[in-house]
Amino acid sequence: MSEKFSAALRIGDLNDFIAPSQACIVSLKGLKPNANKPDKSEVSVGRNKQVQSEPVKISLKDCLACSGCVTSAETVMLEKQSLDEFLSNISKGKAVIMSVSPQSRASLAAHFGISPLQVFKKLTRFFKSLGVKAIFDTSCSRDLTLIESCMEFMSRYKQSHLVDDEKSNSSLPMITSACPGWICYAEKQLGSFVLPNISKVKSPQQTIGAIIKHYLCQDMGLRPEEIYHVTVMPCYDKKLEAARDDFVFRPESHDEGSGNEDNVMTEVDSVLTTGEVLELIQLKEVDFESLEESSLDRPLTNISEEGYLYGVRGSSGGYADTIFRYAAKTLFGREIVGPLNFRNIRNPDFQEVTLEVEGKTVLRFALCYGFRNLQNVVRKLKTGKCDYHFLEIMACPSGCLNGGGQIKPNKGQSPKELSQLLETIYMDNVRVAEPFDNPVVRGLYDKWLEQPGSDKAKRHLHTQYHPVEKSITSQLHNW
């Protein structure tokens, strides 16, 4: 399986010791040949005779529904969410809209030695020269995600105080949902015991997808089916997220087409990683550094009147940071100014912040990045020893800036050096701003979603998780 996936996916799904052809329930022949050699019968698998035949096509959905490997999914994904597919949709005359993550901007900024704002403006120029209609910013939709997450936290917190039996209380800790590697791992490996704790709010990627296809398209004079929406993400696993069944819908205005498979839309049609965008820049032989800077598309971008980028602190989305501040203020009347006092627990990828009121710890939040820390938190959850109110879990060590889709370190640069550089660049000339003060987001509530936590907001911005039953085949292979 590809190194591109996060560790959680690589651990959680790989079942391909027996080679994908055998582990996969859809196709039993014609995939990758296995370097089979005599091995002690620790594994109950007969040796496969290599059969020459036509490869069987497997859809990504088949793969996601299966508890076996995702090795085949990778191939499918590369076809469905590739640069070729992206370029072909532009040439087909689709209205291509791009949403760029702030982590991807930082990675490109570090690579080219320019600021994230310059990257964003040059990217806008570059994509528009290819025929892209509009370029937006997922830190904008992230503010909406964060506000909805604050609402969800408040309701979970209140619910947890109604329930006396702490052990059976599944409302807290609340766990972030933005990391698709974590979600996939939780669904496939951990199942029902942890899923109720995961935030119902969609990730910034899916939130911006929902805004564009359910709301903004009308402003732009487009029907959802005319739009091809592409996100640029630091993470390979985001491709899997975009392909989830939960993010598929049928346009409301076209009743006559219902039941027709072709009429199914996705909030995000394709995900390109930062690395793939760099590849595209190189493919087009564009001198990116000297490319002219274009003005930014304002409808879904965190850019102030004065031309500054703005957003929350926290390079993995600032979930713990934002919700902690909101809870401290709303529940305990404590307004916290300046950076929160996160303390390392065991290693820099596990940090904790607490609020004390009258000598009592009333809020305990943690950042938990990387597979090893994730394991320990899961262990605590399982044994009922987890006393956190909120966990910001990301599968990658160092979080999203170090996502598998980011540009690799330059020659002579250690991963740690790059990671520190990215942390600095990420907030370089970016103004820290409260999500609740974001004028774009306020506008979305005023004109569309009514108010934070409304039924309409829940309908468009909330999602669900499903434990994946172990298939019989995968259990057999697990004999």
Binding site: A7, R10, I11, G12, D13, L14, N15, F17, K37, P38, D39, K40, E42, V43, Q189, R346, N347, P348, D349, G370, F371, R372, N373, Q375, N376, R379, K382, P397, S414, P415, K416, N478
Partner: protein, 346 residues
């Protein structure tokens, strides 16, 4: 002229399926404490065997038949002999504590996706490593109160990892795999996580098929590995024991012992006296020693003896006991364990 022979002391029956592995308790066999070892099997149980000091014979002291739901593939005692770790195909590793002669399961380590193949404690007993068919190697830290915390999940092998083994004196971890390589893992440099510091594969005179096991000599400056490629290989490293400041010294190929085996070699174990034993699919046990009379460029180790038909089926594990006069124990697919003594015949 003196010849040596492996004399069977006892044939131990009890397991109802193949015996995969065994481990001697390092705190036994001296100061009047009777020798004791654990064995684990396809019958999902672990058996604890103890020697009777007066008769010298062995009997089952305990049978641990919970909580593993599938084959128990490997077991290992902590250096103090107080804790026993058992690795199972049920994807868990159980930790047992000896409480007044009774064995209590005090912790279960979950996380591996598939069969756990091997488990090993470091020299000071504060770290535990496991490896699995899921290709990963995990390192756990032992905390007070029998709490275990995951320190690292290492992904480097491209296939099933067969064995993990800590260096006898330093916190360096070795793993060997179905991908034919041996990997060396250390926690050093500016990274705050463990990383692979050396991969010994075919291009570095490594094995050409599955590497099943490895073992260190008493000093820890030499390592022997055994493989499905029918060879044993000896590796050496400099300045072992001078870890501070010196950085990691890579392991070098010293020699390859080929031509002695014609079936897969599953197990190899080096005694403190310098004799290493191999257990193989040909049901035989072989012992090798330093070859003092070796010519320059010639083989450095020679076959001391070969015990044909040591078992009726494959030998999965051979282990030397602690104590003054080491015994050898062997575990086999035939469901039995045998205890051997190396005796000289005139």
């Amino acid at each position: 002229m003196e010849t040596l022979e492996l004399k069977e002391i006892q044939r131990l029956e009890g397991h109802t399926d193949r015996v995969w592995s065994l481990a001697w308790n390092p705190a036994t066999g001296h100061n009047g404490v009777p020798l004791l070892f654990a064995s684990c099997s396809g019958d999902k149980t672990v058996r604890i065997w103890e020697q009777n000091l007066s008769s010298g014979l062995w009997s089952t002291k305990a049978v641990l038949d919970e909580p593993h739901t599938r084959t128990v593939r490997s077991c290992a005692w902590s250096p103090s002999g107080k804790l026993l770790a058992t690795a199972s195909f049920d994807a868990t590793t159980a930790i047992w504590e000896n409480v007044g002669g009774d064995y209590e399961c005090v912790s279960t380590l979950e996380g591996h996706e598939h069969e756990v193949k091997s488990v090993s404690w470091n020299a000071s007993g504060n770290l535990l490593a496991t490896c699995s068919r899921d290709k990963s190697v995990w390192i756990w830290e032992v905390l007070p109160g029998n709490e275990f915390e995951c320190v690292s999940v290492l992904q480097g092998h491209t296939q099933d990892v067969k064995m993990v083994k800590w260096h006898p004196t330093m916190d360096i971890l070795f793993s060997c795999s179905y991908d034919n390589t041996i990997k060396v893992w250390a926690d050093e440099g500016d990274s705050d996580d463990w990383q692979c510091v050396q991969t010994i594969g075919e291009p570095n005179n490594g094995h050409t098929s599955t590497v099943w096991a490895l073992s260190f000599n008493a000093n820890g400056d030499k390592m022997v590995t055994c493989s499905d490629d029918l060879t044993l290989k000896i590796w050496e490293s400099e300045n072992i024991g001078m870890q501070s400041g010196g950085g990691f010294r890579p392991w070098r190929h010293l020699c390859t012992l080929s031509g002695y085996h014609d079936r897969t070699i599953f197990s190899v174990h080096w005694s403190r006296e310098g004799i290493f034993a191999s257990g193989a699919a040909d049901d035989a046990i072989r012992l090798f020693v330093d070859d003092n009379e070796s010519q320059v460029g010639g083989p450095l180790y020679k076959l001391l003896l070969k015990k044909e038909k040591a078992h009726d089926m494959d030998i999965n594990s051979v282990q030397w006991s602690p104590g003054e006069k080491p015994l050898l124990a062997s575990a086999s697919d035939d469901g039995t364990i045998k205890v051997w003594e190396l005796v000289s015949q005139r």
